[in-house]
Subunit: 747 residues, 2 copies
């Protein structure tokens, strides 16, 4: 403490001390005095902690050499002022930790200087000059980023709070932090009082600084919302999401109640769950340290800890998140948000040794009590491999709004993952992709979800923000591996309608490694039409890897046209189509995303199956689809009406069926063989499927015959109307009667 408090203090200052948390311990948010002592005792003895510390120190020392730089706010993300302020808050948080760990006052001084620079600017700061946001910030173009700033800077402030003089604390509290917190909350209720990741950041920003200042009003505001009722129920955010539903609870706890399902799945999808995990977990840690009586980690049956496991299970073999809804590809559990989430979940959540293996891969820890726990656990050899599971994750606050399935299989170190989505809309970041799926082999996308249309933080691309193609393309149904009726998106692409509905699990049986099966229903995307998709991952001994069976049954009140897109990724090797291709490329349609697809060719086959083989990641893959008379195939490519080249020129294969009221689309996907460009040897380059036949299809049952070239044969029978496991079924096909119990049987 640079300034010892004495008894000779002015009364007004005493009064401020009380308000400012006299008697409160600092640091106390994510570093505690006890933790700091333990860290001191461990320095030089815990390799991963020491390594992280050295790296962070280098990084922060470099910034300190540059000096404090607080530019005038001007740019969108990717631009100079945005990136500079972002670097500032990330650096300040680290400098706080370094001050506590090293006791080197240069870090405290750097923080103080920066805070003073911000305090000097803040009172006169107008709204940010960029106007695109529904909730403009002051330092950044949106309140969201201002909240990021406060979440991180609160931690820095906590670390030097006791080092500052009382006058300095008072100055910063009244000039910078309290106005900052008020701006983000009571002055922007359309931002603060929502169920949304934006609001979570806002809530946590206010809560964190409230805990530092021991300002109960701010803490309550953070936990329970501002109480404002001043909003327009038709107002939307920049992504087209509704601001708020009347009578909705708000605040941090409501944001735990609502978007998280009891399984810990966050309804916006893993990319945003990752983003939101930082404020959720860091505030939970701070609350556990400062307000342990809240038992935040036990809240909603331990949903925060479950959320960490849900996220880890929503990654492919490389640790990258499945790219559903608005999601930028490449984001992974190596992100800083997951480093802190895994550290905090380990420290506060029962010290699961499997989490240590993830931390080991991350190869860094956070420099606080929980990071020390993790680094010590690893140093003591406690780490165990993280066992990813096939899982069903429910969606919705009560877990009754559909969900996601991850089917996994691992054969000789080759990992096959299916992500099958039968969830709720996913708030404003959701896509119109009911019953869609994607397929990953060893971390390679083989059948892709497009993800978002945005280049996050690349300024040249629309300020690094969402591009208009996110709405016109990425969210539309035709951009996904699911059924499109009459070239119209699910719910006609209307968010409010989509937000009122969700798909439903029909049944799931994922415990048998020989055949993992999930089946789900969607009855609202196209009024009057039921879509029922069953996906299975089936081992068959003569195949190198389990194959995917995809059965999509539809039943409509009237006749419609259907298209089932299939976004294979890689080089087309062969098809069995008789193809037509134009030398000019025509656009496929005018709306619902079709305006972004070119038609490279069309084709039909006289066989009763259509086959596509492609090469990706040095492996061959084949799609075999049962063909019904009149079915046509379109070979398309993304990129039409995209003058700014915002979209990737990826290919699509579309099965088209016209004028049909009910029927079924059935496909088998295999991964087979390999190609090595060095030895130039191609092995097992052909599909093993000899025939794929729908041998029965009505409103009650679908029956399928799969014949492999080896002679091996599978028969799959599905009951569409009763999923109870003890129900007896009997079905006559070509004079033979099959009986079984439960919703399916695979022979």
């Amino acid at each position: 403490m640079r300034n010892r408090r004495t008894l000779f203090i002015h009364l007004s200052i005493l009064f401020l001390f009380v308000l400012n948390g006299f008697g409160q311990e600092h640091p106390g948010l994510i570093l505690t005095n006890g933790g700091v002592e333990k860290i001191h005792a461990s320095l030089g003895k815990v390799p991963l902690f020491d390594k992280t510390l050295m790296k962070v120190r280098e990084e922060v020392d470099h910034e300190i050499e540059l000096g404090v730089i607080v530019p005038e706010p001007k740019d969108y993300s990717g631009g100079y002022s945005h990136e500079r302020h972002k670097r500032n808050f990330l650096t300040l948080q680290k400098a706080g930790l370094l001050f506590q760990i090293s006791k080197d006052e240069k870090y405290a001084q750097y923080i103080k200087d920066a805070l003073y620079a911000y305090a000097e600017m803040y009172p006169e700061l107008p709204l940010h000059p960029q106007t695109r946001s529904y909730a403009r910030g002051k330092i950044f173009w949106q309140c969201l980023n201002d909240s990021n700033w406060l979440v991180y800077v609160s931690q820095a402030y906590d670390c030097i709070y006791d080092w500052l003089s009382d006058e300095e604390v008072e100055y910063l509290n009244t000039t910078l932090f309290r106005p900052f917190a008020d701006f983000l909350s009571v002055e922007n209720p359309q931002f603060f009082d929502r169920i949304h990741n934006h609001s979570t950041w806002g809530n946590v920003a206010v809560g964190m600084i409230g805990l530092v200042m021991d300002d109960q009003e701010l803490i309550d505001r953070a936990l329970y919302g501002s109480g404002s009722d001043d909003f327009d129920p038709s107002q939307k955010d920049n992504d087209g999401g509704l601001i708020r539903i009347p009578d909705q609870k708000t605040g941090f706890l409501a944001n735990l109640d609502e978007p998280f399902s009891p399984d810990g799945y966050y309804t916006e999808g893993p990319y945003y769950q990752r983003y939101a995990m930082y404020p959720f977990m860091i505030f939970a840690e701070a609350l556990e340290n400062k307000r342990p009586e809240l038992k935040i980690f036990e809240y909603k049956d331990g949903v925060l800890l479950k959320a960490v496991y849900a996220l880890l299970n929503l990654t492919d073999a490389d640790g990258e998140f499945y790219a559903i809804n608005d999601a930028q590809k490449g984001m992974s559990y190596y992100s800083r948000e997951l480093v802190s989430a895994v550290n905090i979940a380990y420290h506060f959540g029962g010290r699961d040794p499997q989490l240590l293996s993830i931390a080991n891969l991350q190869n860094k820890v956070i420099l606080d009590d929980s990071g020390l726990s993790v680094a010590k656990g690893i140093a003591n050899g406690l780490a165990e491999p993280f066992q990813k599971q096939s899982v069903i994750l429910t969606d919705g606050p009560q877990g009754d709004e559909g969900g996601l399935a991850v089917l996994r299989s691992s054969i000789e170190d080759t990992e096959v993952n299916i992500l099958f989505k039968f969830a709720a809309q996913g708030l404003s970041h959701g896509h119109f992709d009911k019953l869609s799926y994607s397929l990953y082999i060893d971390g390679e996308e083989v059948v892709q979800d497009y993800g978002l249309a945005r280049f996050v933080n690349i300024e040249q691309k629309g300020g690094g923000n969402y591009l208009k193609e996110n709405k016109t393309w990425a969210k539309q149904t035709v951009a996904h591996n699911t059924l499109v009726q009459d070239r119209t998106s699910h719910f006609k692409g209307d968010f409010e309608t989509g937000n009122q509905h969700h798909s439903d699990l029909y049944f799931a049986d994922i415990d048998n490694p020989e055949a993992q099966v999930v089946s789900a229903l969607e009855k609202n995307a196209y009024p009057g039409t039921t879509m029922h998709r069953t996906m299975a991952l089936i081992s068959s001994e003569e195949l190198e890897l389990p194959f995917v069976l995809d059965v999509l049954h539809y039943e409509a009140e009237t006749h419609h046209n259907y298209e089932l897109p299939f976004y294979y990724l890689g080089q087309l090797i062969s098809t069995n189509l008789e193809k037509n291709s134009d030398s000019d490329l025509k656009v496929l349609g005018k709306s619902y995303g079709y305006q972004h697809l070119w038609k490279e060719g069309t084709g039909k086959t006289r066989e009763d199956k259509a086959q596509l083989t492609w090469l990706k990641g040095n492996r061959f893959h084949s799609l075999t689809s049962a063909v019904q008379d009149g079915d046509e195939f379109i070979l398309g490519r993304i990129g039409a009406n995209d003058p700014d080249f915002n979209l990737r020129r990826d290919p699509v294969w579309i099965q088209r069926r016209v004028d049909s009221d009910s029927g079924v689309f059935v496909s088998v996907i295999e991964t087979h063989g390999s190609y090595d460009p060095v030895s130039e040897i191609a092995s097992n380059a052909y599909s093993s499927v000899k025939s794929l036949e729908v041998i029965h299809s009505d409103e009650n049952y679908t029956a399928i015959d799969i014949h492999f070239k080896s002679g091996k044969h599978h028969k799959v029978l599905l009951s569409l109307k009763d999923s109870s496991s003890d129900k007896q079924h009997s079905l006559e096909i070509k004079g033979q009667t099959y009986t079984w119990s439960g919703p399916y049987i695979i022979n």
Copy 2:
């Protein structure tokens, strides 16, 4: 020796013994008895050799378990019979080595059984049923692959020669090997008597079996050609290459004389040089062992050893060959051909410790005397890093037919490579790409050469052979990063014409790491037009990496239209064009490759520079081009008129200038900044070039001003008509006089 020779032999058999090499040592081709002894003494003591041995043994044991499989010849490459026979010869060669090393007779027996199976089939074998080749084989669809077979199987035969009885040897020689060698040579002179990698394989096949059988007639035929004059001077091979020029020398030595330049560059390019290196080096090894008096490694001033170094210098940071001419991407110094080449070059070529580091990366050796040398060298810690050089490699038998330049720069482990091509046609595998170049950053292609249009050994793609798009697209000028006049390919795409010409080096100065400059001329590609391109890799302290300066001056007798394609690879981030784009895609032209390009958009700029920034491999790259009034830009994409999806849908940026008789295209290419999809941080995402101006251009001089945003400025002055280094130049620009000596100056 299973069968001891006795004195009680029939005279006719004695006679055959003499013919068959009685008294010759076996093995003696690549394994020698002395080598075998050394190997025995080293077993268990030389890790890389032992490791390779173990792996090869597993592989061969697995094949032996399957038994000898000699199917009826039927398929093109990629098909079953092709791949099976290919696996057979690769396995037999290894089994031979294993027999000698382990003395386990199961390997000898396996070889004998296989040879007998072939001997039984061979005499009745008709030409292969697939008819596409100009030189159909018997076991494979082309003599080339039959030659591969014999090159490998000769080695196996050598290893069991003494183990076989005399009768067995006689039977195999007369029934299988001599007829096989005759078929490949005297029966197929159009294949055997050429200057071509095909013929090299044929020569070596005949030579290897000749050495095993000690059949001097075959050895001479291999070395000097069959002497046949029976050919049609207008006949071409399947790639459109001429079979032969009248009075041309043929045979192995002629194939060393002609396609290799004195620097060891093989005129077809590195992909085929790699392919040819196996027969060249393995036969050289065999000759050195069996006919040391030939001093084959000293032939043509040691060209074989130089060729190995040339090849290693023609690889990017990942060891992959630059994809010029017909070349499949991904081929690298990890190929089996380079393993043997590096091993043999080390053993017979002065034991250069730098070669050991390449062998170390290859992580395997060949199981013979030279592989043992290498493995021992590594075990003894002798390996030194291989220092890749900026190099000028001449082309042509006398080194006076142009060449290639590789400009390299390495800053903080980031490797920048330019491959600039001013070579001869490259025989039938050459492309019409005079003065083209490509750019690699750390092994990532940033400005690509398309390579070939073929999926080697993937049967579904045209039997794994060259696709028609190789001719209609990949060879055409517009498929390359070089100037196209009037939408016509160089030499009008006519091979015979192209084959008579070559570009010429104007000057090269590659020893100054601050600015490496190469300049070359092409006067024949378009009669009446001179193209003169100068490429420089220039360090500038305010840039992260050296930038590329590209100056392409043209001078024609009459007015023409020009297009300069630029095959950037990656995601377009931004341009400064005012763009037009159609919603339907039109094909760009009707011929010379233009029929395979779609026009995605066109644009102009009112600035005096055009700029394109793109993202590839987590780095940003920018092209800045000086713009002259009327210049237009086309954003194109490969893939039109490609119903079988044989072409990659890669983008192109084309600068178009119409109705011009002389002028200059000037561009700067920078690699800058980075993007990390995990931290989502974009750094240095903008070009640093503020302006790029041609301040003087006439038939004698080009002068260029480059201004960076930092204020730094470079002036580049080029003399176009005199490249002598001591020539004094004086040029007045805007009232100021510049004087310098030599062909260029960069300030």
